[in-house]
């Protein structure tokens, strides 16, 4: 029971963190038709900037400033690196984001070293929020979840309640038609790209302190975020939300799976046969927690590429 409850809360919070990154990716795809391979890099930049700034201006200041810097970088990238690629077609845009992701990873390695940096929340944020089954649940995790919820509420309010939100939603659905109606689609793209980068930056700034901050973090999270947007349906915000929570739960519960393939085979009396496969049979399934989302993405891409909520291809 304790495992179930704690895993459920952890899964929900991880899912919300994923959504902060995935929402920007899926919005940008809907609008520009570009899958931004560098999107998870914004998450990484958010964490590293916050780490560097926290030493100079304090944790709270860093949480505000770092994502803004990331958003600015996002805007500059869209304006000066992605937009010129547009006339060469989708493949060039894809390649550019791929190259950027590679470059950002190497840049962080060069500047901060090829190891995990000690980015942690300050002492005054380290206290238990509540106690369940005798286990203290850290407040900071709830803070990560709350940040995501507030962000989602703001995003929802902007998209549903304002005129700009209306135009953005129109542009996600039918970019050329929106442009034909006289809206400045270029500025809109740039703004959305910046907004997505900013949200990923927020996720990095708060999440980097609670997960790890290393040059590999973009790659690790990037794969999961791709899974989220594919499962949810590329371009669908609601799909991204549902898929984020789903993947969050899956990841959280998979870590607790201590049975192995050999144990499962043992149920039908084939334990020895399974053991001959080597360590893959005897290691607990939790070791493959990383493979489950990727497998899920492959299945969705093969069987239903539109995802849960996406438009039919």
């Amino acid at each position: 029971m304790e495992f179930l409850l704690i895993s459920a809360i952890n899964g929900l919070i991880y899912g919300l963190l994923l959504f902060m990154v995935a929402s920007g990716l899926t919005l940008v795809f809907g609008m520009m038709g570009v899958v931004n391979f560098a999107h998870a890099s914004f998450y990484m930049l958010g964490a590293y900037f916050a780490y560097a700034l926290a030493r100079a201006i304090g944790f709270v200041g860093a949480l505000i400033l770092a994502p803004l810097l990331v958003g600015l970088i996002g805007i500059l990238i869209e304006r000066y690196l992605l937009r010129p690629m547009h006339r060469f077609g989708g493949a060039h845009e894809l390649l550019m984001t791929f190259g950027l992701a590679f470059m950002f990873q190497e840049l962080m390695k060069m500047l901060f070293g090829d190891y995990t940096v000690p980015y942690k929340q300050p002492a005054y944020l380290r206290f238990p929020a509540f106690t369940v089954f005798g286990t203290e649940y850290p407040f900071y995790r709830l803070f990560v979840g709350l940040t995501a919820i507030v962000l989602f509420a703001v995003l929802f309010a902007i998209l549903r309640g304002t005129r700009i939100g209306l135009v953005v939603r129109a542009a996600v659905q039918r970019p050329t038609m929106t442009a034909a109606l006289g809206h400045n689609i270029d500025t809109l793209f740039m703004g959305t790209f910046g907004l997505g980068a900013w949200m990923a930056g927020v996720a990095g700034a708060v999440g980097g302190a609670f997960l790890t901050t290393s040059p590999n973090m973009a790659l690790e999270l990037g794969v999961i975020v791709f899974v989220v947007v594919v499962v949810g349906g590329l371009g669908s915000l609601a799909g991204a939300l549902v898929a984020s929570i789903l993947i969050g739960f899956m990841t959280s519960f998979a870590v607790g799976l201590t049975i192995s393939l050999a144990d499962i085979a043992g149920l039908v009396g084939a334990r020895d046969v399974a053991m001959e496969l080597g360590s893959i049979a005897s290691t607990p399934l939790s070791t493959f927690a990383g493979a489950i989302p990727v497998l899920l993405m492959l299945l969705v891409l093969m069987l239903r590429p539109a995802g849960l909520f996406g438009e039919k291809l």
Partner: protein
């Protein structure tokens, strides 16, 4: 050239299918011949370490050509090509182990072929699934397949030897021990030459035309009686064959294979090198991969930021010469024939690139040293910022002059670029 007829001269293919029997064709032939002679004579001139570096560069070139067959010629962008490279490497090590235990008879020079067969078979299966999708979705399927293997491989001991990987020994064959660097080197030269010729012939063939058609007018193919899915699977598998052969050559050279070959940086490297070289020319990707790998070897002794520079180079090439350095060089060579203004323009651009690159390297190396752990330790111990040695002199990090120098270099580069632009465009 009329519709449907094949290009008659190989040089035309080499020069992007639009040149004729010109001076440029002769220059290309001459350059190719000179390169081949140099590769053959290298063991007499260079050390074993240098031979090893050129060996790796040739392997990267074969891998890039195989990748370009799919990404450049067929227009299917794969972000997980490490999978077929690594499968080829493991297949080769398995073949070497089998030979060692006399379970298999295969002449040693043909061992890398096992990698080709492994790559072909695996890419055939993976390609069946991947080519059902196109564009972004295709890219993500390939990425997912490679990522899946990378996660599973360390736990599959029988196939991939777990985290430690597999290793074996090259067996002597017909009096050749294959124990010397030079013997391995010549085998790589042979297989590289064979791959280049075969892939060249492939581009030349009707199926090569069909490959281009997959990129250009996929929708028309069914009406011409072709099964698009089957065609794409075959293209994917052939690309996997040569990728696997490249992986096999690496495994043959190092006598081992490790699950790290599956990691995304291997896939990223071939993408970067191929598109820096340029996909429009047949040899563009090969030359790009060859020289970048070679430079990487040389530069890794001098700097730890080589991969960053390669990433930056990729982005610069994508913005300034989106069709790759190879295509750019051909265009510039054509413009040069036009006269003196073009030469002045080219000189300005090259100078601008050189000056800007110096600025980037200076900025990067200074920040790298300044932020490194060793330097931080010195600062906390001595409470001062010691000067950083670079380009043969030392730079005081507290002095504004140190940081103005790269800025001045960037300004100079910008000025040179503006002057260069005054001399007109390459393609008038």
């Amino acid at each position: 050239m009329t519709e449907g007829s094949l290009p008659t001269s190989p040089v035309r293919l080499l020069a992007g299918e639009r040149g004729g029997w010109s001076r440029r064709g002769l220059v290309l032939y001459f350059a190719l011949a000179a390169g081949a002679v140099l590769l053959m004579l290298l063991p007499a001139l260079a050390s074993d370490a240098a031979l090893g570096a050129v060996d790796r560069a040739m392997i990267a070139a074969v891998f890039a050509l195989a990748f370009n067959l799919l990404a450049g010629q067929a227009g299917m962008l794969s972000f997980g090509h490490a999978a077929y490279f690594a499968v080829g490497a493991f297949a080769t090590v398995h073949a070497m182990i089998a030979i060692e235990h006399s379970r298999l008879w295969l002449p040693t020079p043909l061992v890398p072929l096992a990698g080709g067969v492994g790559g072909f078979l695996f890419a055939g299966v993976a390609g069946f699934f991947a080519t059902k999708r196109s564009g972004v979705y295709f890219a993500m399927v390939t990425l997912a397949i490679a990522e899946l293997l990378h996660t599973l491989a360390p736990n599959l001991e029988g196939l991939f030897g777990g985290e430690a990987g597999l290793s074996s020994f090259r067996q002597p064959f017909m009096g050749v021990s294959f124990g010397k660097e030079m013997q391995v080197y010549y085998l790589t030269v042979g297989w590289t030459a064979a791959s280049v010729v075969l892939l060249w012939a492939y581009t030349h063939s009707l199926f090569g035309r069909l490959t281009l058609a997959c990129r250009e007018t996929e929708k028309r193919l069914p009406s011409l009686g072709f099964n698009v899915h089957h065609t794409k699977i075959l293209i994917f598998a052939i690309s996997g064959l040569f990728s696997g052969l490249a992986g096999g050559l690496l495994a043959f050279s190092t006598e081992s294979a490790n699950y790290e070959l599956f990691q995304s940086s291997v896939s990223a490297m071939v993408v970067l090198q191929t598109f820096i070289g340029g996909t429009g020319l047949f040899l563009g990707p090969a030359l790009g991969a060859f020289f970048l790998t070679l430079f990487g070897r040389v530069a890794s002794d001098l700097t730890r930021s080589w991969l960053l520079y390669q990433g930056l180079l990729f982005i610069v090439v994508m913005v300034l010469a989106p069709h790759g350095v190879g295509r750019w060089m051909v265009d510039e060579a054509e413009a040069l024939a036009g006269g003196g203004r073009a030469a002045l323009r080219l000189a300005c651009i090259l100078a601008a690139v050189l000056v800007a690159a110096t600025g980037v390297v200076m900025l990067a190396e200074l920040s790298h040293t300044l932020l490194s752990r060793d330097y931080e330790a010195i600062v906390t111990r001595t409470a001062s910022y010691p000067p950083i040695p670079l380009f043969g002199r030392s730079w005081d990090p507290a002095s504004p002059l140190t940081w103005l120098a790269p800025l001045a270099l960037f300004a100079t580069a910008a000025l040179l670029a503006i002057i260069g632009r005054r001399f007109g465009q390459a393609r008038a």
